[in-house]
């Protein structure tokens, strides 16, 4: 039943990704409008697995249901996610107040797997740094979106980071077997501002690996890079706050919108619960 649900959600992700593939390249501003942008081709996972299923009926989903989707949802990430957390904090009169965050500047998959020390970086929960899987369990999280890698590529490389990501996912599932895991792609740097492996072509390769990892593990995948990129596949200048990788409130408007589109796609293929 759980697997079925996951496949349904993955189909939703696939539809969203296919939508991105077939849409014409657009400007960053158009990307903000929510339909598409340039960037790596996001291939919808698992579409053939559910292609012949009778349960693929797409149903109407209300805005209230989308709001509700984010109850018991936790977003995990680094300083990019910290920006989203701060954006959400300013909008506590919206559904964003339902989302919880485990974010810390410079956080990485590598850090997530290291023991807790004064120097190690881990998001705080209930007054102290804890392993992500422990915090998620304490929070009673039913759904987690993870966006990491920015601080990993220059340390662990692409494949090394993916391996650690899988370990992180496994530890989360071990502690919270029922939790849904969704991976958010890494977003790009401003044109020409990449350093070492933190360059946009490498990030595209990394995102392809993330998507593959998500497919193989029955996790969801949300492409946040494309909607925030310009026609050249770099982080659009209008979304960059520091001439590097960090993002503006306008960028987080796009995050907000993409999260809701993603939730809608997931819910459209999931039977309503009455």
């Amino acid at each position: 039943m759980l697997l079925k649900k996951r496949l349904k959600c993955l189909l939703g992700t696939g539809l969203l990704s296919l939508g991105l593939i077939f849409a014409a390249p657009m400007t960053a501003a158009a990307g903000a409008a929510g339909s598409a942008a340039t960037g790596p081709a996001a291939v919808g996972p698992a579409s053939e697995e559910v292609g012949g299923s009778q349960e693929n009926t797409i149903r109407e989903v209300s805005e209230a249901e989308i709001d509700q989707y984010f109850d018991h949802t936790v977003l995990v990430g680094d300083s990019i996610m910290l920006g989203m957390r701060n954006y959400a904090m300013r909008r506590q009169d919206t559904y964003l107040s339902r989302i919880q965050f485990l974010a810390a500047g410079s956080f990485s998959v590598n850090h997530a797997l290291l023991p807790i020390t004064e120097k190690n970086i881990q998001p705080m929960y209930q007054g102290m740094k804890r392993p992500v899987w422990e915090s998620l369990s304490m929070m009673g999280a039913k759904r987690v979106f993870i966006c990491l890698g920015m601080n990993d590529l220059n340390i662990s490389g692409l494949e090394g980071t993916i391996e650690k990501y899988k370990t992180l996912g496994a530890r989360i599932k071990e502690r919270s077997p029922e939790i849904e895991i969704h991976i958010i792609s890494m977003t790009y740097t401003l044109a020409g501002k990449g350093v070492g492996k933190l360059k946009n072509d490498t990030i595209r390769q990394y995102n392809a690996l993330l998507q593959q990892m998500a497919e193989e593990n029955g996790w969801g995948y949300l492409d946040m890079a494309a909607p925030l990129s310009d026609a050249n596949g770099d982080l659009a200048a209008v979304y960059c706050s520091d001439r590097f990788v960090h993002q503006t409130p306008a960028a987080y408007d796009v995050w907000n919108q993409q999260l809701r589109v993603y939730a809608r796609r997931c819910l459209e293929v999931t039977p309503a619960v009455y």
Partner: protein, 168 residues
């Protein structure tokens, strides 16, 4: 800005001036200085924060919601009489201003420990990424004064601390 109670000793000053009248025109011509007795009535932390906002340009300040303070920093808000918990919205800034007044002075130790965790966590986040911000965190200190516990992480920490300490 401390609340001032003014006791006018002008009459005394005037009497003294009259008594020493022939001794020096100059002194007698000068206006009598009004003596002021100051009492140490602390401002509310919100008033103090308002003064900070007026005196210092903060970096996209964001006041943290109660749930956030409790859930993430584990601070029991019920032990506080009043508080201000501000952080910069910019992910690349370590700026943090926290002023808390405990209902009971006995809780200040626990509150200080919580702020020490916040400080330590900020330092770890900034150390290898933003050295200038790390330096600012390193210079910061959790302070206790009476029922108050406060932490200022800012490039303008000296000016902010002066306002806080002047107001408590």
């Amino acid at each position: 800005m401390k609340k001032k109670i003014t006791a006018g000793f002008s009459m005394c000053m005037l009497a003294a001036a009259l008594m020493t009248g022939g001794c020096g025109q100059k002194e007698a011509a000068e206006p009598a200085t009004e003596s002021v007795i100051e009492t140490e009535a602390a401002l509310s932390v919100h008033d103090i924060y308002q003064q900070i906002e007026q005196a210092v340009t903060l970096n996209v300040p964001l006041l943290l919601p109660d749930d956030f303070i409790t859930n993430y920093y584990g601070i029991d808000l019920s032990v506080l009489e009043e508080y201000v918990f501000e952080m910069s919205e910019a992910a690349t800034s370590a700026e943090t201003i926290v002023i808390m007044k405990a209902n009971d002075g006995e809780d200040t130790g626990v509150l200080a420990d919580s702020l020490q965790e916040v400080r330590s966590s900020k330092a770890a986040e900034m150390e290898n990424y933003l050295p200038d911000q790390f330096e600012i965190v390193e210079k910061s200190e959790v302070k206790i004064k009476g029922d108050y516990v406060y932490l200022v992480i800012s490039e303008q920490a000296d000016a902010i601390l002066e306002i806080i300490e002047g107001g408590l």
